[in-house]
């Protein structure tokens, strides 16, 4: 794998406006206002933080995996990446990253895709999409309408390693993250951030051991 460029942040978690640990398998949803800095910390290492973003003003505008990777000409996210919306606007910019590579193509696990990928009997194992559905239905957009399954789109997997080969193959490899690694981004508009802290037990995306992550938000300077 080519060298990853790691960029540390100067921000001090002790001075953050908000801190919350998200246990493995839990959903999390929170407003991040324009100018605020949002960090996700992989507390124990090799955890996948499945993440979606929506415009707080109009959640019909949301993070777009295809627009993000095409506009930067690269499928991996790291420092400097602009997370693009479906309407072609920059939602957040990654400003620090001590992991160096994050996945855009693997998506979230779901009880149904687990049946396809592993065994039909896996249907009853907890999965990210159920967490996403719980998170988004709890949020009221400005118009008052709740979000639902139709709003759950192709997500980011922070800290997850999904290499694509020049021959068109795709692999799930052991993580490149480690305990204490983090990714940090500045909101360029008011966004709703949604995390499903992945409960997957069937592949190495969590090193077969889902662990907590921490969400930290600093006020705009």
């Amino acid at each position: 794998m080519p060298d990853r460029i790691l960029v540390e942040s100067k921000l001090d978690p002790a001075r953050a406006a908000f801190r919350e640990v998200v246990p493995a398998g839990d959903p999390w949803i929170h407003l991040v206002k324009k100018g605020e800095v949002f960090r996700i910390v992989d507390l124990c290492g090799n955890q996948a933080a499945d993440t979606l973003f929506y415009s707080a003003d109009d959640p019909a505008e949301r993070y777009s995996a295809q627009d993000t990777i095409r506009e930067q000409g690269n499928i991996y996210l790291t420092t400097g990446t602009k997370l693009m919306s479906t309407r072609g606007n920059v939602m957040l910019t990654i400003v620090a990253d001590t992991c160096g590579r994050h996945d855009t193509l693997g998506g979230a696990c779901a009880t149904e895709s687990n049946m396809v990928r592993y065994a039909i009997e896996k249907r009853y194992m907890h999965a990210c999409r159920n967490s996403f559905m719980k998170a988004v239905r709890s949020w009221r957009a400005p118009g008052g309408e709740a979000m639902s399954k139709r709003d759950i789109t192709a997500n980011i997997n922070f800290f997850m390693n999904v290499p694509v080969t020049p021959a068109g193959g795709l692999k799930f490899d052991d993580g490149v993250s480690d305990a204490g690694k983090y990714v940090e981004m500045r909101a360029e508009m008011d966004v709703i951030a949604v995390i499903s802290n992945c409960p997957q037990l069937n592949n190495p995306c969590n090193a077969y051991n889902p662990t907590p992550v921490e969400a930290i938000i600093w006020s705009a300077v």
Binding site: S113, S148, T153, L170
Partner: protein, 234 residues
């Protein structure tokens, strides 16, 4: 047995409920064609084509004969039963109005009539609007006849002129699948001119997938995908 044929002109949009037991063949009538495509379960439109599930279930970042298109419910919307090209792009996405303006300048219906510049995103939104869907329902799309290679460092490279004239790809519906297409150029197409290409659409009746069907046997995951799809109709 062919049921009907239709010419999809350059830069045009189309939709059709492709019934289980029928197939859609796309034939590129000129070199360098692109067909943007999205798929929904017509009986339950919140079940739709899912790019990540399609890629990770089959461990692929390209589509070809033997690949299937998964919905977000673990079922197969369409199988790719024939392909003369070997690579169709599932990652590049679609063009939008601002991109076309940047690349090709202004274009209006008043000035150009039906030669005006149509973009992928607005075409998809217009066509799915006819089924009561909108922006929240537009997910990642496929680009038939186009190739985007990803190098080891993650960089993405569009391969110009990938599909020659007469290239074809055939999609067999495994469900009653709303297929939404447009023939707008690929968003990474470096051509300095807006130059979409025409595509022939052929809808035909086909036999159900046999026990040793290539799409069923290409991966153990697909074997289960077919079982789950069959259960939906039982």
């Amino acid at each position: 047995m062919t049921l009907f044929e239709e010419l999809l002109p350059p830069g045009a949009m189309w939709s059709h409920v492709l019934k289980r037991g029928t197939a859609l063949r796309l034939t590129a009538l000129e070199a360098g064609a692109n067909v943007g495509a999205i798929f929904y379960n017509y009986e339950n439109l919140v079940e739709r084509y899912n790019m990540p599930d399609t890629l990770k279930a089959q461990h692929i970042a390209r589509l070809t004969a033997g690949s299937v298109l998964y919905s977000d419910m673990g079922r197969i919307l369409c199988s790719i039963t024939e392909d003369s090209v070997g690579w169709h792009d599932p990652v590049g996405g679609c063009s939008n109005a601002a991109m076309l303006f940047r690349k090709y300048g202004a274009s209006s219906y008043q000035e150009s009539r039906n030669e005006w510049h149509q973009n992928g995103r607005d075409s998809f939104l217009t066509e799915i609007g006819k089924y009561g869907m909108g922006e929240r329902d537009l997910m990642a799309n496929v680009n038939f006849f186009s190739k985007v290679v990803v190098e080891d460092d993650g960089s993405m490279h569009f391969v110009p002129g990938h599909a020659p004239k007469e290239s074809l790809v055939e999609l067999r519906a495994e469900m009653n699948t709303l297929v939404v297409l447009n023939s707008c150029p690929h968003p990474m197409d470096p051509s300095p001119r807006y130059s979409p290409k025409p595509v022939l659409l052929t809808v035909k009746r086909v036999p159900p997938p046999a026990r040793h069907d290539l799409c069923r046997t290409s991966r153990p995951e697909n074997e289960r995908g077919f079982i789950l799809t069959e259960r939906y109709f039982q």
